[in-house]
């Protein structure tokens, strides 16, 4: 048992942290990034490609770093600290997570790693809520190609992505676990309509309507793959939450030290001190659970993996919700303003709670499994 990072991991953490503090240290810059055409900074994306971050999970033969869950944890934590708006989760964690395992798309992998192509995962459907296997979109074979019909929603960064990964049913009923295929789709293809929009936390997403859109099959019976990548996304979100929680906690504690009321810093009041102390406890517990998620996502038993990741998402979700709300309350009125940073961290933490299943959904899964795996 050890918690040490390797030299390579330490270098990675240093460079990502430097990137985040250089480009996101001044919170005003984030507004400018969001105002760019794609809702994020093209220059930041190129810089991430140059740093090797976009090829992080790819094997060395594929031109990547062979980075695993620990590397992902380091990057996502930094992304959380800076409230980074670039589509790292969408393109690298989800997109490459699916694409590199489905196989057969070596050129595309290289383009993504180089920063030339972005990806999005169009999987969510309105009726499915948090159930990954609930898919109504259909795929029927037509010669070498497949034809997709259906509607996908809240595809993260789906508005600007150069390629979409789409789940669709090749067989079975809406809630069957079998018969879900994974497809690669060029959004310029006839029959694809995208409606892009901003999300509450300052990122972007899209509704995607598919009407006879022609796509390439990447993997048949892809639900196990989708579940694995969703668990990796949960581990990534837990790490992102830890970074955001830590920053928001520090911001709050600094404010308690400087804000004067009744002739003294409000941090001298014990009622506020105790809530700040609880923020520290929450951050440390969340950090431990993010490490647990990173460890368990590598597990070979999918059922144990899923239960462990649900446990992590549930606890981190609960702690992030508590910490976010406390941060607003302890700041008082200033945190209600759009101009101040704290509210943006709160909003991101709140939305992290919804992504890939909320607290109730995940605790139900732990309960159904009879508790945590050994």
């Amino acid at each position: 048992m050890d918690f040490d990072l390797t030299d390579e991991q330490r270098l990675l953490a240093d460079s990502v942290n430097r990137f985040v503090s250089d480009r996101y240290g001044d919170f005003e810059k984030r507004k400018a990034y969001r105002a760019e055409a794609k809702g994020y900074a093209a220059a930041n994306w190129s810089a991430m490609a140059e740093m090797g971050l976009l090829g992080l999970p790819l094997s060395e033969e594929q031109g990547g770093f062979g980075g695993g869950p620990v590397e992902a944890l380091l990057v996502m934590e930094a992304i959380g600290r800076g409230l980074v708006v670039e589509p790292y989760l969408a393109t690298v964690v989800l997109g490459l997570g699916l694409l590199r395992r489905a196989g057969g798309q070596e050129d595309l992998l290289a383009e993504v790693a180089a920063g030339g192509t972005t990806l999005a995962f169009a999987h969510q459907e309105r009726q499915a809520r948090h159930d990954l296997h609930d898919i109504a979109t259909t795929a029927r074979q037509d010669g070498d190609a497949w034809v997709l019909d259906g509607a996908k929603g809240v595809a993260l960064h789906g508005d600007s992505a150069d390629r979409l990964l789409v789940s669709a049913r090749t067989a079975g009923g809406r809630r069957d676990r079998a018969g879900i295929g994974l497809f690669l789709l060029d959004p310029a293809t006839p029959g694809v309509t995208r409606r892009g929009y901003a999300t509450q936390d300052g990122l972007r997403a899209a509704e995607v309507v598919l009407e006879g859109a022609r796509a390439t099959l990447l993997a048949a019976d892809a639900l196990p793959l989708i579940e694995l990548v969703a668990d990796e996304a949960i581990a990534a979100l837990c790490a992102e939450a830890v970074g955001a929680m830590e920053t928001l906690r520090d911001l709050t504690v600094d404010y308690l030290k400087t804000r004067q009321q009744f002739g003294r810093p409000i941090g001298e009041f014990q009622a506020l001190q105790h809530r700040a102390a609880d923020m520290l406890v929450a951050t440390e517990q969340a950090r431990s659970m993010a490490m647990y998620a990173a460890m368990m996502v590598q597990g070979s038993d999918p059922a144990a993996r899923a239960t462990a990741l649900s446990a992590a998402k549930a606890l981190v979700g609960r702690l992030a919700d508590q910490l976010g709300k406390d941060a607003i309350q302890l700041h008082g009125g200033i945190a209600m303003t759009e101009e101040y940073k704290a509210g943006h961290y709160f909003k991101r933490l709140t939305m992290l709670g919804v992504l890939f299943g909320d607290v109730d959904h995940h605790i139900r899964r732990v309960v159904a499994a009879g508790g945590l795996p050994d």
């Binding site: 014990q270 520290l280 990173a294 139900r364």
Partner: protein
């Protein structure tokens, strides 16, 4: 970063597991598992078995019977002894006075006290808290005035855990009433409980148990050679002593064992058409406790790992985190157990001092459920209440 144990660590763990189950009487372990009262004999027997195998004081210096273990090995020992429901070596001896004597005592004191302390030939009690000095320990009033070769002690200690069994008591006493700061006039004194002038009175707690006592000192004469370290430096030794409680304070192994037992009993206890286990609300609360415990377990592992690199005297928020969350989850576990008992948490059959001579009204295990719940309200109060822990976090780590 790897949260799994190495092959060597697994071998070490498995050896301990087998040892605990082989060498410690099953009846004693059953009592611990069920949260029943242990007799003095149970605790003494266990510690002597451990001592005979060189395992009673692993945290002491090697020359006094300690082990040259890594932090991870120490952690494994602490977790496994709890998970096996083995009574832990008496904390007053092993974690408190022993290390203080080994670190600050003189050669004669080490020779005289350490071997019998390790083997539990001397049973120590802790004389810190007073009626007017709880969380604000430094305001203690018990005095020791020097007269020739003796100190004469007057005052009262309270919450003296298992003081009814004690042979000796280590006390914080005020030796300089005029010190500039209240922390500066305190000394650390070892007192034989058989000395004339000492009176022990039981305090019966809300669970009906006799675990704690009041100890009164009326002109108690203590040889000056029983002063540990320097005069008026007792507060430093007390701080050292309290910081030694860090490993194991969260009692994760024990709570794990208790939650597993809650699960088992919930599956056996009828409710409606099925069992208590079929109630999703109950299972949901149990799941939350398990999850919080998992997070705390990893937090504890991080603390253990950091011990290799952290300066020993540097304050560390982790012991406060472990205290707060560990006590909360311990309390949750006792509440869940009581809920499994349902209506049969209610009967309180008359019992003699040592327990189970009369038949239970409901299932036998259910007798102890409510008393354990009541008793465990203590864990968020003692050892620096959870509110004191939040003060510590706020002041020492957040700089508020």
């Amino acid at each position: 970063m790897d949260l799994r144990y190495t092959a060597d660590e697994i071998a070490f763990r498995d050896e301990l597991r087998a040892f605990f189950r082989r060498e410690i009487p099953a009846e004693i372990r059953r009592k611990v598992s069920e949260g029943r009262k242990l007799s003095r004999e149970d605790i003494v027997t266990t510690q002597r078995v451990l001592h005979a195998h060189g395992l009673s004081v692993p945290n002491w210096p090697v020359e006094w019977g300690g082990k040259d273990w890594t932090p991870v090995q120490r952690y494994i020992f602490s977790e496994e002894i709890q998970a096996a429901a083995v009574p832990q070596p008496l904390s007053f001896n092993v974690n408190m006075v022993g290390p203080v004597i080994a670190t600050f005592g003189n050669a004669a004191q080490k020779q005289r006290f350490l071997p019998p302390t390790a083997n539990l030939d001397i049973w120590w009690a802790q004389g810190f808290s007073e009626p007017g000095a709880g969380s604000d320990l430094a305001s203690l009033k018990t005095t020791a005035r020097r007269e020739g070769d003796e100190f004469v002690v007057n005052g009262q200690k309270t919450w003296t855990t298992l003081g009814q069994y004690a042979d000796w008591i280590f006390c914080l006493v005020r030796t300089d009433p005029n010190a500039r700061k209240k922390q500066e006039g305190i000394s650390f004194l070892l007192i034989d409980m058989k000395t004339p002038g000492i009176t022990v009175r039981p305090i019966i707690t809300i669970d009906g148990g006799h675990e704690v006592n009041e100890v009164f000192f009326d002109e108690v004469k203590v040889p000056a050679e029983n002063l540990v370290g320097e005069l008026n430096k007792g507060w430093d030794y007390a701080k050292f002593l309290l910081s030694n409680e860090r490993i194991g304070i969260a009692r994760i192994g024990l709570t794990k064992e208790r939650l597993a037992r809650v699960k088992r009993l919930a599956q056996e206890t009828p409710a409606g058409e099925g069992t208590v286990w079929d109630d999703p609300d109950f299972r949901r609360r149990l799941a939350w406790s398990e999850i919080e415990l998992k997070a705390l377990e990893i937090t504890q592992m991080r603390v253990v790992a950091a011990q290799r690199t952290r300066a020993a005297d540097k304050p560390d928020p982790s012991s406060s985190i472990l205290k707060i969350k560990g006590s909360e989850i311990q309390q949750q576990a006792t509440q869940l157990l009581m809920e499994v008992a349902g209506p049969y948490a209610m009967p309180r059959p008359d019992r003699d001092e040592d327990g189970a001579n009369l038949p239970s009204v409901g299932p036998e295990w259910a007798d102890a459920a409510a008393p354990l719940f009541f008793n465990y309200r203590k864990v968020s109060i003692y050892g620096g209440s959870n509110e004191i822990q939040r003060n510590i976090i706020a002041k020492a780590f957040l700089g508020l």
